[in-house]
């Protein structure tokens, strides 16, 4: 016998995850346009290994494999890993990262909805600590054909065509004494940030706005994250524009826009109350900026996200909204 309500909105986890995948497509398309079809190969590799790992663990855990694999959450994790990792990384590292994120970060904690950490970011942190040099080998700006890409991810060493990310270039440039404008005038940089990367950033922005429009995410997290980033970079930039890059550069570089709409918005490992979301996302931006400028790693989003994941229970507890009729309490 059933109890009320007897009707439900035609919605599902699968549909939510599918919408997220759709929202990632503009960025993927721009990625292909700017850097060649290699990213698609990586997306496929990551998807296959993530889904395979998910299915295997679900079977071990005696859970309905079809039901949970078809929720597409493993695919979203796989895509985020593929998009945040260097494209020319050896494929086995990519596979290791996705398998670890699904098995160790997600399923060992209880699977869908139970993981305290963002699986993609946890995988990123593990890999950048374990394989720091491989994780900082990015392709030089420009189109790369499929066969070169396959050789690279197969493990071939073609140093000539690797380059640094804009954030990396900025960091090494600053260390060598060049000022920001001098660095940004180099070939690797475009109008706002890294050449090519700024286009992909626009793709994430478009996808993110689509997610807000479809009510998959709320405005709180991206807005607070981007505002926090602008505020931090703006303060330092105003104080010393020769040494600190502008807010626009920070918005357009690294994973800022990807993180704003697709990483900090992970509902499972993030804060859930309206005020909590603002605190959570703004704190990630703050920590990210500090790591970018004063830390050992060129981009600190992954570490910042994990740190703030740890604070989520506290943030949620302390920011519970007032309930109806208790406004004066």
């Amino acid at each position: 016998m059933l109890t009320s309500p007897f009707v439900r909105k035609p919605t599902s986890v699968q549909q939510v995850m599918f919408t997220v995948l759709i929202a990632l497509l503009p960025a993927v398309a721009l990625y292909v346009w700017q850097f060649g079809p290699g990213i698609v190969v990586n997306l496929i590799i990551a998807t296959v290994s993530a889904v395979g790992a998910e299915a295997a663990v679900l079977k071990l855990r005696k859970k309905p494999v079809g039901l949970y694999v078809s929720d597409l959450s493993a695919v979203v994790t796989a895509w985020l890993i593929a998009l945040t990792f260097p494209t020319i990384l050896p494929a086995w590292i990519l596979i290791l990262a996705t398998v670890l994120s699904i098995v160790a970060v997600k399923q060992l904690y209880g699977g869908l909805g139970q993981n305290p950490f963002n699986p993609a970011m946890a995988a990123y942190c593990l890999m950048i600590v374990a394989y720091p040099s491989a994780m900082s080998q990015w392709p030089a700006a420009g189109w790369m054909d499929l066969s070169t890409h396959l050789q690279l991810i197969g493990g071939a060493s073609l140093d000539a065509i690797t380059g640094a990310t804009p954030l990396d270039a900025l960091r090494t440039g600053l260390r060598s004494g060049t000022d920001v404008n001098g660095i940004l005038a180099r070939e690797a940089f475009g109008i706002l940030g890294g050449r090519g990367w700024e286009w992909i950033g626009l793709g994430y922005l478009a996808g993110g706005l689509f997610l807000i429009q479809r009510r998959v995410i709320t405005w709180h997290l991206p807005t607070a994250f981007l505002a926090g980033m602008v505020l931090m970079s703006g303060l330092f930039w105003i104080a010393n524009p020769a040494h600190y890059a502008s807010p626009l550069f920070h918005l357009a570089s690294g994973g800022t826009l990807l993180a704003a709409f697709f990483i900090v918005t992970d509902p499972v490992s993030g804060a859930t109350t309206p005020r909590g979301k603002l605190i959570f996302a703004a704190s990630i931006a703050l920590i990210t900026y500090l790591i970018r400028n004063f830390g050992a790693y060129p981009d600190g989003i992954a570490f910042a996200v994990l740190l703030m994941n740890l604070c989520v229970p506290l943030i949620d507890m302390k920011t519970q909204p007032r309930v109806f009729g208790h406004k004066g309490d």
Partner: protein, 559 residues
């Protein structure tokens, strides 16, 4: 006066399906073969039966008397014969039985005498008693006695008439407003008079333009502050607290009633029933119900209370693939475990389901904390947090997160992408908390009883001892007065404790007995040597001491 509308947070817009039955005028449902009138009105009240099997009753004749302040009278819905008074399954998800009066209609529909009440010239108290004796309860679903709500002593500023009818499928209030707006307005005026409200506001969802129009026509030309306000169609706009919020901006917290905030809210159907009772002398014996869903002829029917659900359902002609039958709306109603149960004053709708209209729920997945439930919760709760706490049986935390502010409207379950039946978890948690509280209060009562018993026993012993002591003291005093030559050695000491008193009493009695014995007959110990006399005295003393110890041993539990 209403300046503008307010909003309540959350809410959903499910498919309304109201078109199925909204166009069907109210028809009088045919007399069923039997009417089963429950005496139970709510968990709070069961009327006292005043008819016997075989008795002839008239339509509107009282068959049950209110047994408590929260109870109202019960009436025969039609004329006929009382067949039996028997436990019968009631319209409740449990299918539990309750005492019902079964009436076989004679088909004449002969009314009892129907005097009317001039409510403006009688005292409010009398009018409220009139409502109670005419069985008027809230027809919005909760069947709360109207004489209690209308009897709030002063302080009511705004009288709200709830015609929102926000649940999908249901159209009975819509039809009532369209067809009998004059009666509703007349009832509203009576309620205004009784509550002393300054203004009347009708709140009707804006998806019922004809109803709004009909009410506006009915209030046209009336003096006083009376308005019809279309409210946005957003479930649960018809929830009492939500409607009050939308119309007045007042938020009524859990556990408080509108009356505390100067607002009182009645369903439009209730207002109509009040009008029938006061101006026409008719007790509440019928109401309008919607029969819809997977039926050939969805419609609205004026149905006698006690009509079996199966007879009512037949009026709509259910289709072949009809499955479960729902009573009430699909958001807050319940599945009927059996169809021989009678319709009650709370019954506003019957929905025949089919797998196509009400597909079986997909399997429940894990919560992904997406917050969709929080976004639609009209109580502004964090439903997923309550879900986690309820699931983990962390009931203290669930209460801390305001579990009991949940109105079980079902919005959270409706939107959950993981298909979690959230409301079920809250019902479970509430049930567990109530059960624990009951257990605790039962244990408290038992402990109190035990402590009271112990205290009573101690008191009784004390009183007995005091009585004995008093008697002993009196005897001693008497003894001291009568035998001046043989003063009792203990008489000088005031008895310090009940035991001393007893001992003194015994000693005195022994003295007395000895004296009597000595006086009555000479003992063989009369002519004794001083040594023998000393021996005898010693033995007497021992005997007395033993008697004293034995008496003391009689009360082993003392101290």
């Amino acid at each position: 006066m209403i300046a503008g509308l307010f909003r309540f947070k959350g809410g959903i817009k499910p498919e309304t399906h109201k078109n199925a039955s909204a166009g069907a005028p109210i028809q009088i449902a045919p007399l069923p073969k039997q009417l089963i009138v429950p005496l139970r009105q709510s968990p709070r009240a069961t009327a006292e039966c005043i008819v016997v099997p075989g008795q002839k009753v008239l339509k509107g004749e009282r068959i049950g008397l209110p047994d408590s302040p929260l109870s109202t009278a019960v009436h025969a819905p039609t004329s006929g014969t009382v067949v039996e008074i028997t436990p019968h399954a009631m319209a409740h998800p449990s299918g539990l039985q309750t005492r019902c009066v079964v009436i076989e209609p004679d088909g004449d529909e002969r009314w009892v005498e129907r005097p009317t009440l001039d409510y403006q010239s009688t005292s409010p108290k009398e009018a409220l008693a009139w409502l109670r004796d005419h069985g008027i309860v809230g027809l919005g679903g909760a069947t709360f006695p109207s004489h209690i709500k209308a009897g709030v002593d002063g302080g009511i500023e705004t009288l709200i008439l709830n015609g929102a009818e926000c649940e999908p499928w249901i159209t009975c209030d819509d039809r009532l407003m369209r067809e009998r707006a004059d009666g509703i307005v007349a009832g509203a005026l009576i309620l205004k008079h009784l509550t002393g409200a300054r203004e009347i506001v009708f709140g009707v969802e804006d998806n019922k333009p004809q109803a709004i129009e009909a009410l506006r026509t009915a209030i046209h030309g009336l003096s006083g502050d009376i308005t019809v306000i279309p409210v946005p169609s957003l479930y649960p706009a018809g929830g009492e607290k939500q409607l009050i919020r939308v119309l007045t901006g007042v938020e009524i917290p859990h556990g408080k009633l509108g009356g505390d905030f100067g607002v009182q809210c009645f369903n439009v159907g209730t207002a109509y029933a009040v009008n029938r009772a006061i101006n026409h002398g008719e007790p509440l014996v019928s109401r309008v119900m919607t029969v819809t869903g997977n039926v050939e002829k969805p419609g609205n029917f004026e149905v006698l209370i006690g009509t079996p659900v199966e007879a009512l359902l037949a009026l709509g002609q259910p289709k072949a693939d009809t499955g479960r039958i729902l009573m009430g709306g699909p958001m807050m109603g319940f599945e009927l475990p059996r169809l021989d149960v009678p319709a009650t004053k709370a019954t506003n709708c019957l929905i025949a389901t089919s797998p196509a209209l009400f597909p079986p729920p997909p399997p429940e997945m894990n919560c992904i904390r997406c917050g969709a439930c929080a976004a639609v919760c009209p109580a502004e709760l964090q439903p997923f947090e309550l879900y986690w706490f309820s699931r983990a049986r962390n009931f203290g935390k669930a209460q801390e997160y305001h579990l009991f502010d949940c109105i079980e409207c079902g919005c959270c379950s409706y939107v959950c992408p993981s298909q979690i039946r959230l409301v079920d978890y809250y019902r479970f948690a509430k049930g567990e908390i109530w059960a624990r509280e009951r257990e605790k209060s039962a244990a408290d009562a038992a402990r109190e009883r035990f402590e009271f018993r112990n205290e009573r026993q101690a008191r009784e012993k004390r009183e007995k001892a005091e009585k004995l002591a008093a008697k002993a003291a009196a005897t001693k005093a008497k003894l001291a007065a009568t035998s001046a030559d043989a003063p009792a050695p203990a008489a000088a000491d005031a008895p310090a404790s009940p035991d001393d008193a007893k001992r003194a009493l015994i000693a005195a009695a022994l003295e007395r007995a000895k004296a009597q014995k000595a006086a009555a007959e000479p003992k063989n110990t009369d002519a004794l040597t001083p040594a023998q006399a000393a021996q005898v005295a010693e033995a007497d003393e021992r005997r007395a001491a033993k008697a004293a110890t034995d008496t003391a041993a009689d009360a082993p539990e003392s101290n």
